[in-house]
């Protein structure tokens, strides 16, 4: 069975095509990363999954059935733009949102207290939402999405603006939920988060799906031609013939090896060369990062954009607070 199935959905706002011919399937127990730069159609796709907007064409199925509003009780949603009633106190607020998802008042308020304990914000319970810090408000919002024990959890940029400790706390909560069979979709433009936690991804760019599948499959499709080396001393070894391109930093370099049948041997010979000239403190051979794969894919689909200069920094600001259309 699949939790979410999108088939050829398309959405056009006035003049802008937000999503075009998007299809993917999400199974239970999946941590699914929906990736793309700002404005690529992530939020639009998520909104269509839960009926906030309706696709112009194509179909959305949740829990193996064509979408109806009656399944919304099994869906938890954390929108990108946080929304809470500012003047309401936290417990009332969570209880109210739980009730909207079909819980009784007593169950909702009991669960709200339990979740606050779990996320370490018990002291916030009697306070008004507007008196809380941004991070705390985000945790409240997070709880609101999970209170009714949903089978499908949609998180739109869940960690933006959170400190690393709290981001990790929320992430591990999501991992726990995933391990008991919930499907978690989270959209982000932070490739590093996805690389760490997701087992399945979809990359979208300007409304088009440019890459999707399980993380392992995608990565195995690429050769291990990336070398990361930390060194002290002479860097003459960086002239090695197997190096196709490199980025030099203070004390370390990221190297892309020339494509060949003997990549593993090339890497070893590069290492041998390096040891002769310098003291090597770290040496790692790996697949391209998701970020690199993404950039490569984007360049393939839009070759007009001036080739090698394109970088993630141009596609978006990694920590930026911008939002999708």
């Amino acid at each position: 069975m699949s939790i979410v199935q999108l088939q050829n959905i398309r959405k056009v706002y006035d003049t802008k095509v937000a999503v075009e011919d998007l299809s993917f399937t999400i199974e239970p127990g999946t941590m699914f990363g929906l990736l793309g730069p700002n404005g690529s159609g992530k939020t639009s796709s998520i909104r269509m999954m839960i009926g906030i907007t309706v696709p112009d064409s194509g179909s959305v199925s949740l829990f193996d059935r064509p979408f109806t509003r009656s399944v919304l009780g099994r869906v938890g949603y954390l929108p990108e733009e946080r929304g809470l009633y500012k003047k309401m106190n936290v417990l009332d607020q969570l209880t109210f949102l739980g009730q909207l998802h079909g819980l009784t008042a007593s169950v909702a308020s009991r669960r709200a207290s339990l979740w606050c304990e779990r996320l370490d914000i018990v002291e916030a319970i009697p306070k008004k939402t507007e008196d809380l810090s941004k991070g705390m408000q985000q945790k409240i919002q997070f709880i609101a999405a999970l209170l009714h024990d949903p089978d499908l959890i949609l998180m739109d940029e869940p960690f933006s603006g959170l400190d690393p400790v709290n981001a990790f706390l929320l992430m591990s909560t999501l991992v726990d939920l995933c391990s008991i069979g919930k499907a978690v979709i989270f959209s982000t433009h932070r490739m590093d988060q996805v690389e760490k936690f997701c087992n399945s991804i979809a990359l979208i760019h300007r409304g088009h799906l440019i890459l999707s599948g399980s993380m392992r499959e995608i990565k195995s499709g690429y050769p291990r031609n990336r070398v990361l080396i930390y060194y002290e001393g002479d860097d003459a070894f960086l002239q090695h013939p197997s190096i196709e391109g490199l980025t030099r930093y203070n004390g370390h370099a990221e190297i892309r090896l020339r494509p060949s049948a003997t990549l593993a041997d090339d890497a070893q010979s590069l290492l041998a060369q390096a040891i002769r000239h310098a003291r090597v403190t770290r040496f790692e051979v790996m697949e391209p990062t998701l970020e690199e794969i993404f950039i490569e894919k984007v360049q393939q689909t839009s070759p007009a954009k001036n080739g090698s200069k394109l970088s993630m920094a141009e596609l978006d600001q990694p920590n930026g607070g911008g939002r999708d259309a």
Partner: protein, 421 residues
């Protein structure tokens, strides 16, 4: 339906709990009563004493006028002017002194009596009287002075003809007409006052709470809580819940005010506070119809307000659009006087059937005039039908509008929203 109830209850509970609700519930009647009795008090106390000077070469005439004014108007009665009169002879610089006193405010005016040129003829000619008030506000004194002078001169003539002073006084005793009300008319007057107060109340509360609906939608828009709410419930349910919730707060407030007013007017202490014997008198039918038309009016205007709120992103933008809300209400206000005086005129009958005006004007007609049953039923039916239409349009605008951030939609865009399903 459950969701509508949840939304409405949240809206109600959160609003009732605010300090703002408590403050308006207590303050508005206080301000209203303060205004009514304050103005009555000021009216009764204002201009209670007047200081004038009478300048005449005929000292006897000046003194007679002085005693006439001071005695006749000397007994303090409600709304009666108390006179202080200085009688003086004409001196070389009298006028300039008096003018100075006028300027300094010591004097409210002076009467200059110029004797007739030739008093020797058989037909006695009257002197010329000139009154100089300190300001045009004191001009009303001329009437009082004229009647007092008339009396004085008449008494003089009578004395000339040998009539004893006491007899003359009896002849010149001013006629007094006592004010009395036919019992039915007095009730009617009370009803007019009570109904007018309710009219203002309805006007105010509909406007206030209509705007509250719009404001609360904008608030949810800016706090982006919509996304969460819309991920579980329909926009229509959200809008219905909001209108019901906010409206119930308005009804609660009006209910509190009305029961307090009825309790107060039932107790004897305040029954005659108005001084004119007018008290809050309402029949059960008037109260029932008040709630019926209040509900209709509120539903009508708050659905418009909901659409306005969904179309805008901030209070400033709402201010620009709230003309749509306020103008029809103000139109009712303008016609208030003519409908009050003649609730069964053709104009009143027609206006009361036009849905934006029905709630306020039909309520006046039902309370004070004699509309036919058919007219009442037609007014309710027409308004209900138009409310249905407005809710239909508003909920469509609402559904698309609440997710639109940024620029305000243009008219063609709005029309497209209506078609959008």
């Amino acid at each position: 339906m459950h969701n509508v109830w949840l939304i409405a209850r949240r809206e109600y509970v959160e609003r009732i709990r605010t300090r703002g609700f408590l403050v308006t519930t207590v303050m508005i009647p206080l301000i209203m009563f303060g205004f009514i009795y304050g103005s009555a008090f000021v009216n009764s106390k204002s201009d209670s004493s007047v200081h004038i000077a009478v300048v005449s070469s005929d000292t006897q005439l000046a003194l007679d006028l002085q005693s006439e004014l001071q005695l006749r108007h000397g007994t303090p009665r409600a709304n009666q002017t108390l006179f202080t009169v200085d009688a003086m002879d004409i001196g070389p610089d009298t006028r300039s002194i008096l003018d100075q006193e006028l300027d300094s405010g010591d004097l409210d005016g002076y009467l200059w009596i110029t004797p007739a040129a030739t008093p020797a003829t058989s037909q006695p000619t009257r002197p010329t009287f000139t009154f100089t008030p300190s300001s045009s506000e004191q001009d009303y004194l001329r009437g009082t002075l004229a009647s007092a002078l008339g009396t004085v001169l008449m008494r003089e003539q009578l004395a000339h003809r040998g009539i004893v002073a006491s007899e003359a006084n009896a002849m010149l005793q001013p006629v007094e007409i006592h004010a009395a009300h036919a019992p039915h008319r007095q009730d009617h007057e009370s009803a007019v006052v009570s109904v007018t107060i309710l009219f203002f109340l309805m006007y105010m509360v509909i406007m206030l709470y209509g705007m509250n609906v719009a404001r609360s939608i904008i608030e949810e828009k800016t706090s982006r809580i919509f996304e969460i709410l819309l991920a579980t419930i329909r926009p229509q349910e959200l809008m219905a819940g909001k209108i019901l919730g906010v409206g119930s707060v308005g009804l609660t407030q009006v209910g509190i005010w009305l029961s307090a007013a009825l309790l107060l007017s039932a107790s004897s202490v305040t029954a005659n506070l108005g001084g004119q014997g007018i008290h809050l008198s309402l029949t059960a039918a008037q109260i029932v119809f008040f709630f019926i038309y209040f509900t209709l009016g509120y539903a009508f205007y708050s659905s418009i307000a909901a659409a306005l709120g969904a179309m805008t992103n901030s209070e400033q933008e709402l201010q620009q659009l709230n003309l749509f809300l306020v103008l029809p209400l103000i139109a009712c206000f303008v016609t208030l006087k003519s409908v009050l005086t003649n609730p069964d005129s053709t104009m009143a009958r027609v206006l009361a059937l036009i849905p934006p005006f029905t709630p306020l004007l039909m309520y006046l007609r039902v309370s004070l005039g004699h509309p036919s049953h058919l007219a009442i039923i037609a007014s309710i039916a027409l308004t209900s039908a138009s409310i249905y239409a407005i809710v239909w349009v508003s909920s469509r605008i609402y559904r698309v509008g609440v997710l639109m951030y940024g620029k305000r939609p243009t008219l063609p865009e709005l029309l497209r929203w209506l078609k959008y399903s």
